[in-house]
């Protein structure tokens, strides 16, 4: 029983570290994990869930704004990118945030094609992160169910 927990903990640790190493997550995610404890074991999952809902909503509305080439509401797109950048920054979603930086630049020069590319990329990145974090949370759950504690992982 002990080795199962140890194995799962090891798996969790390695997976989490790899997410940082591959640039999916940054230090802010570490900060969020600090805010989670036995009393609030789902805090991080809840916050990222809100974030993913935000992504979906904002991507949809920006998509609509970019739809017709002759009538793009760049102000609306800019507002959407700003919000997305903000919330991705708040949860440590590094890749999503970085796409937002490029996205904003395209918006600033009213480059519709560039915006569409960024939109597609941001959609891809948030969905990818969602999958990765789901795997991470599943590992967490398995550890808890096996009677173990979630490891504190130090990322430098």
């Amino acid at each position: 029983m002990n080795t199962v927990v140890a194995q799962l903990q090891r798996q969790f640790q390695d997976y989490l570290v790899s997410l940082y190493q591959q640039g999916f997550l940054d230090n802010q995610f570490t900060e969020l994990r600090k805010l989670q404890d036995e009393g609030t074991p789902d805090f991080v999952a809840e916050v990222v869930s809100l974030f993913f809902d935000d992504c979906s909503k904002l991507i949809n509305s920006m998509s609509r704004s970019l739809e017709r080439p002759e009538n793009v509401d760049f102000k609306q797109v800019d507002s959407g990118v700003h919000q997305l950048k903000g919330s991705s920054s708040s949860v440590g979603a590094r890749r999503v945030k970085n796409v937002c930086i490029s996205f904003k630049e395209c918006c600033d020069v009213q480059n519709r094609e560039g915006c569409l590319r960024c939109l597609q990329q941001v959609d891809y990145e948030y969905k990818m992160l969602k999958t990765k974090l789901q795997d991470l949370f599943n590992l967490e759950q398995q550890i808890v169910q096996a009677g173990g504690a979630i490891p504190q992982v130090n990322i430098n």
Partner: protein, 200 residues
């Protein structure tokens, strides 16, 4: 509007009650948790307008049941649709009921003129987003050290912007950042500007 602990018992008088204003649902959840974990009572609202309503400053006679409302700190995002954090700050400082309450502005953008504008208008401090636990802890210490508003002699104190670290540089971001992560790893000295009140 999410309301934190509604109890107004005398024993909670030493606990800071913070009003957090942010239009981002994600950020509200995070700031609320940051403050709760730092032993503060928290009320979150999603706009400057809602904040004014909560404080009874919106001019609506119906919402002024606020004789006992105790707010020790207001933390607000800068960029919000409708009333910006700066406009909210001004309204708070114009009010007789709440002008003594410290107001801290949060922003994802490190824009010096904006920070200066807020400090000049009477903001207690400025936090660069994303907000971290250390930021909130430091903020709380500063607010609690300042003591009760009634004892303040702050009007006679010169305002000062305090870097919270030994790093004396006041320029924008550290040059050790790589291009792809503009907001990452900003050293804490650049993340937060706070001015002490009467007590240094």
């Amino acid at each position: 509007m999410t309301v934190g602990d509604l109890s107004s018992s005398p024993s909670s008088s030493r606990e800071l009650h913070v009003l957090a204003v942010d239009d981002s649902f994600v950020d509200r959840k995070v700031i609320e948790r940051l403050l709760r974990i730092s032993a503060c009572k928290v009320t979150t609202v999603e706009s400057g307008t809602r904040a004014l309503q909560y404080l009874g400053l919106d001019g609506d006679k119906g919402s002024s049941t606020l004789k006992d409302l105790k707010v020790n700190l207001i933390v607000t995002d800068y960029s919000m649709p409708g009333l910006t954090g700066y406009e909210l700050l001004k309204k708070i400082k114009e009010s007789s009921a709440f002008r003594e309450v410290p107001v801290v502005i949060m922003s994802s953008e490190n824009i010096q003129p904006r920070i200066q504008q807020c400090m000049t208008e009477g903001a207690e401090g400025f936090l660069l987003k994303p907000v971290k636990l250390a930021d909130v802890k430091r903020l709380k210490e500063l607010i609690m050290r300042s003591g009760e508003p009634e004892d303040e002699t702050k009007h006679s104190c010169p305002k000062r912007i305090l870097q919270d670290d030994t790093d004396s540089s006041t320029s924008t971001l550290s040059s050790s950042l790589d291009v792809s992560s503009l907001d990452d790893d900003t050293p804490s000295s650049k993340r937060m500007k706070l001015e002490p009140r009467a007590h240094d």
